[in-house]
Each structure stands twice: as C-alpha cells, then as structure tokens.
C-alpha cells in the first residue's frame, strides 16, 4: 500500500515519537498496564502504515459490492437502502405478540422478528408436562396453525419480511408461515424472511436442541433445498455467531465457529442434495453479535465478509458473485447489559448499534434497556427502535460507505481477526470438521474458558462494568417491567384442546404416518410438514415423530 520511501519516513517518525514518549511523565502511568479489547486481544498504542504495508487495496479492501466484499455487499449500501430496523419481539399469547408487532410497525420498524417461548423452541406443546411454567414466558407460544393465524393477523406478508428465531422445529414454523401466506392468496415467490434454522450453533452455544446432530443437519438441508426450489426470497438458514458470543466467546471465536458452521452446511447440501453451490449459496444468511468493543466489532464484521468471500470462491468454487457475499443481521449484545442502573443500557446499545452500522449490517435489532430484567416493555422497546432511527436519520454515519476503511488500526485489526479465525478454522478442519469438534466438546470448552476468564477479569476489576464493579450506587426501584400473566398458559392450553377437537383427526393421523414413513427415507420432509400444519397438527405431534425415530440429543454438560 505504501512506497519504500514512505515506510522509511514512517519508521523514522516512529523513532522520534518514541523519544518524545521517554520525556513524557505519563509514560509511567501507561507502563505495565495492559490494553486489551473486551475479548482480551492486546491493542498497541498506535498504528501506522507499517501495520498495513502488506495489504493490497484491490485484493484486500476494494469496493463495495465487489469481491472480496470487505466494504459491504451492496454497491450503494445505506445510501440506496437503510438497514432493516428489525426488532425481536414475542411474548405471551399470539394476540399479545401481534399487538406488539403492529405497535412496532406503526413506530417505523421495517422488518418483523419473532421470539418464541421455550416450549415452542424445543418442540413441545403448551400442554406438555415439560412446558409447565414456561408458556409465553420467553416469547410467544405457538402450538398450531391457529396460533400462527392470530400472530400474523393483518400483517402484510407480501411487503414486510419476517425473521423467526426457531431451530429444531424451524421447518414447522416456516410451514405455518407458508400456509398462512397461501391462505391470504400470496404466492410463495412473493414472501421474504428468515428462519434461523442453524442447528450447529445450538450444540455449540444456544442449546435449544432436540435431535442428534445428523438428523438435525438433514432437516436444515431439507429446508435449504425446498426454499431454493419454491420460496426463492427466503433465507432458509441464518448462520449465527450471536449466541456463541452470548455464551461467552471472544470475537475471534464467534467469527471462526460461525464460519466453520457455514462451511458444514454448504458441504452437507452439496453432498446430501447434490445441488450446485451457486443454486443455494446466495440465500445463505448470517447473524452476528455487536458487543461493547467498538473497533473490535467493526473489524470482525469486515473480516467476516472477506473470509466468507474467500471460502465460497476458493474452497467451494462458487462462480456467482452473490454466492461470495455475506449478508448478515446483527443484534446488540444482550450479555453486556446490566440489571444495575438499567438506563445506562441505552448508551451501551447505542454504541453497539453504531458499530454494527459501521460494520455494514443489513438488518439490526437493538436491545431494550430492561432486557436484562424481563422481556421488553413497550416503552423500552420503542426507545430501542428510536436508537436505530436516530443513527440512520440524524448522525450522518450513512452518508459514505465503510467510513473506517483505510484506518491503520481498523485495517490492521481486521487482518488480525481474520488470521486468528483462520487458525481456528484450520484446527477444526484438522479435527474433521465442526461436527467432530462439537463431539469432542472443543468449541464448547473454548467458549467456557473465555466466559470464565472474562468473569474473573470483572471480579478482579481488570475489566470494568459501570454500575457493577465501578460507580456502584444504591439502586433505586427498577423500571416497571413486563410480566407474563400466568393465565396465558391456561388460555393457550384451552385453545389447543379446542383445535384438536375441531380438526379432522383422522386426516392428521394419516399425515403423521406419512411423515413418519418419509422421515425414514431421504425424501425432503418439507411437503409433509406443510401438509401436517395445514391440517392443524401440533408442533409437538410432528416433533414427537422425529424424536421417536431419531432419538433425542442430551446435553453433555461440559463446563
């Protein structure tokens, strides 16, 4: 990037600066202190052309919308289209959540995102003994298509895109969405959205798992194949680093494990489905965390795009440039929020949101200030949405694309993140891929080590959390938070029983039998799942078929 002469001048200048440092009184204060990111990556006091002399502008940085996509996927970026304001929302009953969705849309959110309760996430109906006490608590309770019809009441499915955080039962909830659209007369090529459907990170971090890895991956590949053929605007998997980070990983681990998961999905679809990589790769999508360390996060996002572009182009020999690009959603870091002095969380979220925007996210959820206490209240969720709108409309940060490119620090950090993440990926490849690594507990233990290390740093005050280990005050009453009425469970169970009584039960039994038979073959199961939900089979009835055939995955309990 620089001439020999420039580099010589840089070197000479550095020597002069170091001499100045000797004179400075403050050098003493700096000596012995370790300056590191929130992931404990050591940072130097100054970066110069020397740090990025090996970078090649065209090869490593380049232009937006062009390989290697370091500078975002879209040639016009936010000048052409703002990122999608997509607030993760779901609580209590389908009615409660529908109401929150309409509120958020009225306030200017531009994409929907669904939070399901734990029974729904884990493939249990609300009347299951396993679901006791959990109904509607952590998100919306969905048992059958009836609930889904209420959830999407008066939502314009042909103009708004919807994301669903759902994993083992992803195909079932997606099928409900497809049937609801079909009933509204909207064809499947007109609807857009995302199912998270990333089972690998479940085993690594989020831990909502149901079946063992092999059948879990098969269901993912089924949805990718079905989406490619029938729902072309749908992102059938959102390969997620978010939960890896929330579980306590470093930024580099988040980056590396996410890409390793992505590699495995691509391999599986190619091998299992014999599909051409360019037929499905353009619709693979990603999901990252935006944590507290501003520059580290921006570097991570830029490194992620560049790495994925290389993986797709050179490892998988994809030819379509859209197969090379990485589109991603971002959520600010839930784990960085504090129960203490909760209004401070607005500031944390704002900084993290800004990092996501500087990093070129396609879509963003900003956490509410009270999210460490409960599901967000309407008041808190609205402030979180406004945070994005202020960034987009008031701050001017959208005027130019990838504004931090060329910064000695950012480019050097981007390169460092990339190098360190490659080391992990190579190690995982040597182990035989991410599935073998998960089996050994490798990513799980790496994350556990990092989480424990970070907690110890907080306890020793090597890392500061305002309100927790510094600037601690006597707490005033916490803000008023949302509470899920215990009556939700009762009402939900009553509705479920009514649906079961009114549906054509003979037909449901037959479809579940067909699903069982097909599950034992290598047929794509999506058409069977769609038929089942159309006839109001419950989520658990479908999942029980799979649990019965494939068995259940048990947490090995690594710590």
């Amino acid at each position: 990037m620089f001439s020999e002469r420039t580099l010589r001048e840089v070197e000479a200048g550095k020597k002069r600066w170091e001499k100045e440092l000797e004179k400075g009184k403050r050098q003493k204060a700096e000596k012995g202190r370790r300056f590191s990111t929130v992931s404990d990556l050591e940072i130097k006091s100054i970066y110069t052309p020397e740090d990025i002399k090996d970078l090649d502008f065209s090869k490593d940085i380049g232009y937006p919308g062009i390989f290697p996509f370091t500078r975002v996927c879209q040639p016009t970026m936010y000048r052409g289209k703002e990122w999608t304001f997509r607030m993760f929302a779901g609580m209590g009953s389908a009615e409660d959540t529908n109401k929150r969705w309409h509120h958020l849309l009225r306030e200017g959110e531009t994409g929907l995102s669904t939070a399901f309760d734990f029974p729904t996430l884990m493939g249990y109906d609300s009347d299951s003994p396993r679901a006791r006490g959990e109904c509607g608590k952590c998100g919306v309770a969905i048992d059958t298509l009836r609930d889904f019809e209420i959830l999407t009441h008066r939502i314009p499915l042909d103009s708004v895109t919807t994301s669903m955080t759902i994993n083992p039962p992803a195909s079932i909830l997606w099928a409900m969405y497809l049937v609801v659209a079909e009933k509204a007369g909207i064809s499947w090529d007109k609807i857009g959205g995302t199912i998270q459907n990333d089972m690998l990170k479940e085993f690594i971090a989020q831990k909502t798992f149901m079946l063992p890895p092999e059948p879990s991956i098969r269901l993912v590949s089924d949805t990718i194949e079905f989406g490619t053929q029938h729902v072309p605007l749908w992102n059938t998997v959102s390969i997620s680093g978010y939960h890896i980070r929330e579980a306590g990983s470093t930024a580099i681990q988040e980056l590396a494990f996410t890409l390793a998961d992505g590699i495995t999905y691509v391999e599986d679809v190619i091998e299992r489905k014999k599909m051409d990589v360019d037929s499905f790769a353009p619709r693979l999508s990603f999901f990252f965390n935006s944590h507290l360390d501003f520059f580290e996060e921006i570097a991570k996002f830029r490194a992620a795009r560049r790495m994925w572009a290389h993986i797709m182009r050179y490892r998988f020999k994809a030819k379509d440039p859209r197969s090379w690009w990485m589109r991603f959603h971002t959520q600010t870091a839930g784990c960085s929020l504090t129960a203490q002095q909760p209004y401070n969380n607005i500031v944390r979220t704002t900084t993290q949101a800004l990092a996501a925007v500087m990093g070129g996210t396609q879509s963003l959820h900003t956490n509410a200030l009270d999210e460490t206490l409960a599901l967000p209240s309407e008041f808190a969720a609205t402030i979180a949405l406004r945070t994005q709108q202020i960034l987009a409309d008031e701050t001017g940060v959208t005027n130019t694309i990838d504004p931090l490119a060329g910064s000695y620090f950012i480019e050097s950090l981007t390169k460092l993140m990339e190098e360190k993440a490659w080391e992990y990926i190579n190690k995982i490849d040597d182990m035989g891929g991410i599935l073998a690594a998960i089996d050994k507990g490798f990513p799980q233990m790496e994350i556990a080590d990092a989480a424990y290390h970070y907690q110890q740093q907080i306890d020793r005050k090597e890392k500061i959390v305002v309100g927790v280990n510094k600037y601690v005050v006597e707490e005033k009453a916490p803000p008023e938070t949302l509470r899920i009425d215990e009556a939700v469970e009762e009402k939900q169970i009553a509705r479920l029983q009514k649906v079961k009584k009114e549906r054509d039960n003979r037909r449901v039994v037959q479809i579940l039998k067909d699903l069982r038979a097909a599950s034992r073959t290598d047929k794509n199961l999506m058409p069977y799942v769609i038929e089942a939900v159309r006839e109001y089979a419950t989520e658990q009835e479908i999942c029980d078929v799979w649990r019965d055939i494939f068995g259940e995955y048990r947490d090995p309990g690594f710590y």
């Binding site: 608590k137 306890d459 947490d555």
Partner: protein
Amino acid sequence: MVNSGRRIRILVAKPGLDGHDRGARVIARAFRDAGFEVVYTGLHQTPEQIAAAALQEDVDLIGLSVLSGAHMYLFKRVLELLKANNADDVMVIGGGIIPEEDIPKLKKLGIKEIFLPGTSLDKIVGWVRDNTKPRC
C-alpha cells in the same frame, strides 16, 4: 450435624427448557476452583431429575439457574420433591433473571438465597462457605 471433614458437595442444575447455561457453567467452575465438589446436571432437567440427582449424589447444596421466567414453578417444584423424599435438609439457592419482587416469595418457599446478575463469584463462593456444612 457432624462435620466428617468431607468437602462441600454441590449440584449445579438447570431446570426447565431454558438453554442459557453461561452463568451455571461459570459458577460450576468457580465452585470447583474454590475446592467444592461439583456435579453439573447439564441442561433441560425436570425437577424430578434434579431431586433424584441430589439424592443420588448426596449433595449438601443445590444451585438452580433459571433465566426463562419459569422460576416460580420450577423452584417450588424442586423444593416439594426434596421434601417428599425427606431431603429438605439439602439447601437450595438460585440465580438468574429473577424479578426483585419474587425474591421474598421464593425465600418463603424455602430457597435460602437468590443471586442476581452482577454478583461476583467471590461473593457467591463466600456465601456457600459461610452457610453450608457438609452433611455427614
């Protein structure tokens, strides 16, 4: 109770369908590093499984972690099952996302202490040292 000189045995447990295990795993390590004997159940345990594990492992203390909002039902159920098995001398503490207003209710049920987010590991370990005696 006679102190037989054995180490404090703790069951760290995740009841319910909640998958948030970062806190439980960090605290399990902290207990281990503090010299306690630790058994971690792993995720998605029913209250029945937790009570059975407590008996089987002969623990002095159970640490329950719930971040899903289902603590009122799950904590109560674990206490009931311990009582039904004549094991209500096993102390139970809890942690997670638990509204302040629920803490007195949980203590009334018999939960000895609740630790909220932001509590240091030292504080929790110290509490266990001060309040737990190995059962003989």
